[in-house]
Assembly symmetry: C2
Homo-oligomer: 263 residues x 2
DNA sequence: CGACCTTTTGAACGTATTCAACCGATGTGG
DNA sequence: CCACATCGGTTGAATACGTTCAAAAGGTCG
């Protein structure tokens, strides 16, 4: 894996509630970028907040950042300053072990929060790379601290976000620790499908942004094994696979493949 | 696995800073249970807080709870009310998949925080069982919310705790996703050793509280494989293994076994 | 068009699993 | 108190699953 040319991603100024002049300069388009009017608000950090609290969350977002496909959003070892909320695009995160092995720890899509790995040591422990041209909202951590000091519900929400990440990680451990190759791939596809549905896309047809190698790393398998499982599912009539274009022809079959080892 | 007879663990009242009368009733022993005088304070939630903030943390702890070996601290699906800080003893946490498979997600020892899995859905997603007679400090979550509202450093500390848990989980993913059996066992033992050292115990000699099956589940291996690796390390002069009594005879050898697959 | 990357597929191989037997310690009931 | 069941652990032999190595096809991009 050799992403991460790590040129500095583009920074875009964003409308701020208290910065009326800037708003006039940027115009209507910028207003759309506020959390209160963002169509991702029910998936993202502000999920579940009332209108008043939402205004406070607006104050969090100063800037957005474009990250081109293959570019790093951040790298392990760099100082932790901000969390990021994915607006558009697709990312992968991975750790690199001391002896140089990679492990993909997750794939992030619209509405998901990136950067929580950096809080505990004031520097990032993950590498995060865009798999397609992407855009994130930058949430400066000191700002988040300030605002959450006066907004209890935002505090809850941050906790929930971190707790959800922990629970997700436990799910991955279950997958890596106790599932066979076909089950892992089935779980992976069903998870992706669910997340696309939550974002208003079709449940059964989607485009994989990552390589077979990325999938394999995430699932603890070699890329050849991933490819073979895809082929097997195709032969079984469960999937249609054309390169990275996936169509789930038989969702129940896929769930069955996940269910029990000897299906 | 068939722990969790789940009788309600014993609840012990604890001295509270503002409850002087209770303090007199309980006496000196109870004073020791305050965070400010607890010998675990530098490993536990209050780690890094100054004296003033520490007083606030004292207010968090109303009660302690004894959990006997084999008993559950909590189970998946039960309502989330509190976090727990391990005072003494040893726990394992595990998820159970829909189709009934177990996956041990971690082992918790003195000073470590348990219960973060419950925040995001107001109910626990993990099962936590004591592997020996244990005692935890109960941290009511609503209390933590209140106190952290006025203590910024405590807020930071909670974030750090959760972030550290996330990073730990990534380490486990790396282990499960890319290491061979011997490496996994080596990593497991070195991790245990480190954590014992941090608590003032010997680095090279310790007693395993968990079965080979628990270790196997955690490491994504079968118990026979764990046993075989122990035997291999014994033959190589790296370990002395007598039942659950482990002695690391050659720490460098163990690190080497972790280092590269083809050692 | 050619170079490179991703993906697929086959065949041989190796690691961890499965199945089974056995040991020792612990605990129970006659 | 001893016989017997149970549980945790070790070890062996056969098996199965995923990996490794290799070749080739299809796509993309300069």
């Amino acid at each position: 894996m050799d992403y991460a040319l790590a040129t500095a991603p583009t920074v875009i100024p964003v409308h701020h509630a208290s910065a009326a002049v800037a708003a006039l300069q940027i115009g209507i388009a910028a207003l759309r970028t506020q959390c209160s009017t963002c169509n991702l608000r029910n998936l993202c950090l502000p999920c579940g907040l009332n209108a008043k609290d939402l205004d406070h969350v607006n104050e969090l977002i100063y800037t957005r950042k474009r990250v081109k496909a293959g570019e790093a959003l951040y790298q392990a070892g760099t100082p932790f300053k901000s969390l990021y909320a994915v607006r558009t695009g697709f990312f992968k995160s991975y750790v690199v072990s001391e002896d140089g092995r990679d492990q993909v720890t997750g794939f992030q899509m619209a509405g998901e929060i990136i950067g929580l790995d950096g809080i505990h040591e004031d520097q990032h422990t993950l590498n995060v790379v865009a798999l397609e041209d992407s855009e994130v909202c930058v949430i400066p951590y000191v700002r988040l601290e300030e605002v959450s000091a006066k907004v209890p519900e935002l505090r809850r929400q941050v906790h929930r976000t971190m707790s959800r990440e922990i629970a997700r990680d436990h799910g991955v451990m279950l997958l890596l620790g106790s599932m066979r190759a076909e089950e892992r791939v089935a779980a992976f596809l069903l998870n992706l499908s669910q997340r696309f549905v939550a974002r208003g896309y079709a449940s059964s047809e989607f485009y994989l942004r990552m390589t077979r190698e990325d999938i394999g790393s995430y699932l603890g398998l070699k890329l050849e094994t991933v490819s073979r499982v895809f082929s097997k599912f195709r032969e079984d009539g469960i999937l249609s696979v054309r390169k990275r274009q996936i169509c789930i022809l038989n969702p129940d079959g896929l769930k069955e493949a996940l269910g029990h080892a000897d299906a």
